[in-house]
Amino acid sequence: MNARIKRVYPIEENCMGCRLCEVACAIEHSEFKDPLMAFFNGRPQSFTTVEVNGATTFSLNCRHCDEPYCVEACITGAMHKEPDGRVIVYEDICVGCFMCVVSCPWGAVNPKEGAKKAAKCDLCPDRELPACVQACPNRALVFDTTEGLIFELPEEEEEPFVEG
């Protein structure tokens, strides 16, 4: 794929685990876009998760894989790889089977709060920088627009298809 692949990369050494990325993501993807309205009147849901294990913390969100498992698993075509490299959900086609949720090796696709739909990171199309990147006080998230794969996905042995 020749399109510029945009991704948000976590920098583990800089992440202090404050979870402001989660707050920013939830606000950005709420119906109100205001912190207080989003949390008191909306259904805040963050698509990035801060993983914590002792001193090791980092914010994990959708990798927008080149060959996404979620897209492969989707039975309706709602989960879609866009020409610009983003992997997004078309909610109107999504039937809520959650095969994408099960198939994502990063745990980055989740059921939408209060709806039978899949929900995931969309790289904040309305913003210049994704909300999580802008909210990080310690530059532990960077928005990378370089081409090509940086992380190799784990090779999986394909199981032979058995009829019947």
Partner: protein
């Protein structure tokens, strides 16, 4: 809260606006003193105010501005003599019977001489200079200057300098990052100071905790310290640096040694300081091989020998009552730079009583040392660095006009990267990630961001200093050095003005 001493009253109160709190848990995660916690059944975040140190980390990090940390309003019954701090200190000592520790610099209400000095400006008869239009030089040379210059002519008849010039440090701005050791600070702060000093063409000082291997590449802008503990001092350490500094005393705790608790000595600090992991790093109060000026001379020349006479050697002393005579001795012992650390200087840990009541202000120390060395005709032998409580560019200008060559900034540098002066450095739990070696908390200080902020601070000060030089009609900082006629005193007594060597405001030349 339940099992505390009856006389431990909270110092800060944390006001949380529950109409704004979204229970994101950021403040809970950020509080390193376990003062903030989450009540799951009530879905509320609350604060144990007894543990709050007033560092304002939660306030700064709260995404909705729901938190206000402020000093308690229900203080003890008003008493102009027994103030709340005195009362608390007595309670604390009655509870525990120990020395009250603190960090940071002297915060008592002593006269701040900087605030009683005013800077002169040009009007009509002597033109001021616009630093945006004309060149303005802040470059400062630190080190021994020759008594006289001898010039000889070569066979072509061109003049050549015959005098051998002693090694000098060249700082593009006369502001140097003060010695703060690796151990007291974490490596991220050292990286930031080194990078900022490198970018701004000035220097940073390692403090007594030696220099981490990763920072050897910044050797050209590093002043390495040799203190009474001799931590990590090796031939390589001295050779990699731009200059070496013998630390005799520290402004925050003159006459007292240092103590880095064993818990803070991790693998990296152990390697850098060359001591076993987990052992206390004790700096003795005196250098056990220095009991006289002659002994000091031996150490100065041992370092000069080790560095092939290619690097200036500095001696840092705390500003104490007899500072002028001591400085004269240091100059005669062969030092190239004398650092005078005033009583406002900071520390990672010191008994509060020593920090608050020992030493003298750096303004006075600089003035008397400069005066004494001039009178003895040896001012050119040494450069003077003023340290301890330099707050802004005007303080730098005033220090230089009083007779300093450059200044050290420690507290200002820490403030630039987030410090809120809560003075809990000695706990090793700094919520801003500056004076902690806990690997998780230290991540809060991103060295790249910290370096940018330090560079911004120095750039800002440089602009302001150029403006101030311009308005005095001076185009090089070296021309201001010791020019006390450009200062006037306001609200000082006759004796104070005599000691500072400045005229009262209103008196012309």
């Amino acid at each position: 809260m339940l099992y505390k001493s009856l006389s431990s009253f909270p110092v800060f109160e944390v006001e949380r606006d529950y109409d704004k709190c979204i229970v994101c848990g950021c403040c809970v995660q950020q509080c390193t003193f376990d003062a903030t916690y989450y009540l799951p059944y009530a879905k509320k975040v609350i604060t144990d105010e007894h543990k709050c140190v007033g560092c304002k980390r939660c306030e700064a990090m709260c995404p909705t501005g729901a938190i206000k940390v402020r000093a308690v309003t229900n203080e003890f019954k008003h008493n102009a003599y027994w103030d709340a701090r005195t009362i608390r200190d007595i309670y604390k000592q009655a509870d525990q019977g120990g020395v009250i520790l603190t960090g940071g610099g002297n915060d008592r209400r002593f006269r701040v001489y900087w605030d009683h000095l005013l800077i002169d400006a040009c009007q009509v008869t002597n033109p001021s200079i616009d630093p945006l239009r004309e060149p303005m030089e802040l470059r400062t040379f630190l080190g021994r200057k020759p008594d006289a210059l001898e010039v000889e002519y070569n066979e072509k008849g061109e003049p050549e300098l015959k005098t051998k010039i002693a090694p000098n440090l060249v700082a593009e701005i006369p502001v140097i990052f003060a010695p703060m050791s690796y151990g007291a600070l974490n490596l991220n702060m050292h990286k930031a100071m080194a990078a900022a000093a490198d970018a701004m063409g000035t220097y940073w000082n390692t403090g007594e905790g030696s220099l981490h291997r990763d920072l050897y590449k910044y050797g050209h802008c590093t002043i390495v310290q040799v203190a009474s503990g001799r931590f990590g001092v090796s031939a390589e350490y001295l050779k990699v640096a731009a200059a070496a500094e013998i630390k005799i005393g520290q402004g925050a705790k003159p006459g007292i040694g240092g103590h880095l608790p064993g818990e803070k000595v991790d693998e990296e600090i152990s390697k850098t300081r060359m001591i076993p992991v987990g052992t206390d790093a004790l700096s003795p109060a005196p250098h056990h091989d220095i009991y006289s000026i002659e002994d000091l001379r031996q150490l100065i020349y041992a370092i000069k020998e080790a560095t092939n006479y290619e690097k200036p050697v500095s001696v840092k002393i705390a500003a104490v009552h007899n500072v002028a005579a001591i400085a004269s001795g240091i100059a005669r012992a062969g030092a190239d730079i004398i650092v005078l650390d005033g009583f406002r200087g900071g520390t990672g840990a010191s008994p509060a009583i020593v920090r608050d009541y020992v030493g003298i202000p750096v303004e006075i120390a600089v003035a008397v040392v400069d005066q004494r060395l001039r009178e003895e005709g040896i001012r050119n032998w040494v450069s003077i660095i003023a340290a301890g409580g330099i707050r802004n560019s005007a303080d730098v200008i005033k220090a230089i006009a009083l007779g300093a060559d450059a200044v050290y900034i420690g507290t200002s540098a820490l403030l630039a990267v987030g410090c809120t002066l809560c003075h809990k450095c000695y706990t090793g739990r700094c919520a801003w990630g500056i004076t902690t070696n806990d690997p998780h908390i230290a991540k809060r200080l991103n060295p790249d961001i910290a370096a940018e902020r330090l560079i911004n601070l120095l750039k800002g000060w440089a602009h302001e200093m150029k403006e101030m030089l311009g308005l005095m009609g001076i185009n090089a900082i070296e021309s201001l050095k010791g020019n006390r006629l450009r200062l006037r005193a306001i609200g000082l007594t006759k004796e104070e003005m005599d000691i500072l060597g400045v005229l009262p405001a209103g008196e012309g030349i």
